[in-house]
Symmetry: C2
Subunit: 343 residues, 2 copies
DNA sequence: TTGTATGCGTTATCAG
DNA sequence: CTGATAACGCATACAA
């Protein structure tokens, strides 16, 4: 029962009175083995509590059954939900998941590259828009890979995300419909493709409404709470005030709300605020945050499905899968206050 | 350079004109090999870009160089910081980390057990107080394991955490010092050992102040935001109101603050609130949350160090390591409002 | 339908 | 100090 050393295929073979080849076949190609022997083998497996030694199997097969998921920050509220989708899909196909977090640290990234090179993972899911490794030459040695959220720079790597432009467009359209014309954009970024796409949606929305963009109320950011707060501080040092803040993500929006709150403003009476992502905290904010919801579990599922396809077929059928984000209307948006309209 | 198949030890041996045994030695016992040959080997390694095949190595050695970290919820704000400590310590000793999250799901837990049994991980870090597996019989087959935060039920597994009793005591003592006497305890739990210990600290603090405990203002909870909110709702249906809420963790405290805010109360004017953990959001709440800080990175570091010790020595030197938690005073606590004092 | 034998890439033992 | 070789546990080509 609870022997010191785990049972091997040989133990099973001995008990079932067959060869190890038959045991292996009974497990992996049950239809190619006689019913009676299959039964014997299964009983022997049950008796011994045999589990395939994954190391030996991978060595023999030349590939592992693990997928490495690399994320810059595991603490990211978006992460865990995506993971659920990734995991479910992977497990359904006999793969396990390995999580690595780089914290945007080169040293750490390198460790994971070594990990890949030692054949410990068959595939790679990348959570960042930038390859965490030494770029160019390395990509040649990368296993089949799929990006999540953003296209991966300098790699011809397929990816799964949401339609950021369309999502951002939904947010602007709502603000426009409420009567806003001076809408700030918080969190612009040249390095985060998803963010710059959201800005494209923002500008498309303004354009459609005949509002000319005002660069004085566009602020850069890195998607952190702190960046949102900072933007508010900078904003109040300028001459132009918006009536609404469209934020590149929820974290930024939370920062903006904190910054505005600290200055004594009421949301949505004085300013409207929108986010993007619909992180779990969004509904607990006061006021609760109007935002764009990402279909996180679905993204994870699709990303893993795509990777598994790559793993078997070799060639990806699609290079980009964009899911539809939905507007979630809560309490952080209202019509602009009259005090501000013509400021 | 970027060949299709990765270089093996044999490739290195051929180029360096030595045997594979020498290559292996040059890598693992450099002092037992002549300087000149070591040089040749290193050059050959550089040329080929050789990396040890971890599968073959683990198979030969009978153990892997990976540690499995199992957590019920990766989204837990405490998790990622602990992980940093775990990772650093592991890497420093040549181990990698594998993260599994069970979501308290039996099926998932079983998958991880299989994973362990297939020799894919040399050790186990458990983030929950309850063994996620089928209890009794299974523990016999568990690899060296260490618990984090809480002692692990039904296993003689050593663990690393904070001194919950002392931490909770610091929170009560602060409230008592501010003049509170009617202090509610939110988040009592029979299943979470850490939580029941915090309650012990709470009661010890009351006792030291000569305050007799009032069970009408002790509420159960599971440490979620929702549970905090719920407790507030239940509380207002009873006849006794506290002047302060001591919460079992920050998430609960956030829930309490939301519940109190929804009823129009001001914190800390009307009620004081304390948390436990000092999660990243705590400082961003309004008011910012007075809480007990856990030395998360240190906990991770110690836990991994203990596990590595187990891995080599076989026997643990300590069965329990308790770190000291610190009080972080912010703005959610003040003296009780006169309106309530004699209610 | 089943068994035998080989090799996956390493490390360790044992001779030299 | 170095080399030949066995063994780790498994999957499969080939034989029976």
């Amino acid at each position: 029962m609870s022997n010191s050393t785990p049972a091997t295929i040989e133990d099973v073979a001995r008990i079932a009175q067959v060869s190890i080849a038959t045991v292996s076949r009974a497990i992996h190609m049950p239809e190619k083995v006689a019913n009676s022997t299959r039964l014997k083998v299964n009983q022997a497996i049950a008796i011994t509590g045999y589990t395939t030694n994954a190391m030996a199997r991978s060595l023999r097969l030349g590939r592992s059954n693990m997928i490495l998921v690399v994320a810059p920050d595991i603490g990211d509220p978006n992460f865990s939900n995506i993971l659920v989708g990734l995991e479910n899909e992977a497990r359904a196909h006999g793969y396990g998941i390995l999580i690595g977090h780089t914290q945007n640290d080169a040293q750490r990234s390198l460790e994971y590259l070594k990990f890949l090179n030692s054949n410990q993972a068959a595939g790679l899911i990348l959570f960042t828009g930038i390859l965490p490794f030494g770029h160019q030459t390395m990509t040649a040695r990368l296993p089949p890979s799929v990006g999540v959220f953003e296209p991966v720079f300098n790699g011809g790597i397929p990816y799964v995300g949401v339609d950021d432009i369309a999502g951002a467009r939904k947010a602007v359209d709502l603000l426009i419909a409420e009567g806003h014309r001076k809408i700030a954009f918080i969190g612009d970024s040249r390095t985060r493709l998803a963010y710059s796409r959201r800005r494209m949606g923002y500008e498309a929305g303004l354009d459609a409404a005949g509002v000319s963009p005002d660069l004085r109320i566009v602020f850069e950011g890195d998607g952190t709470i702190e960046s949102g707060r900072l933007a508010v501080e900078q904003l109040f040092m300028r001459d132009t005030l918006p009536t609404a803040f469209m934020c590149v993500n929820d974290q930024t929006a939370i920062g903006v709300m904190i910054g505005l709150g600290a200055r004594g403003y009421d949301i949505p009476r004085d300013f409207s605020v929108t986010g993007f992502d619909d992180v779990p905290q969004a509904v607990f904010m006061s006021p609760s945050l109007t935002t764009i919801r990402q279909p996180r579990t679905a993204i994870g599922k699709h990303a893993m499905a795509l990777l598994l396809e790559l793993l078997s077929d070799g060639q990806p059928t699609e290079t980009e899968i964009l899911l539809r984000p939905d507007l979630v209307v809560r309490n952080s948006v209202s019509a602009p206050s009259r005090n501000w309209i013509r400021k």
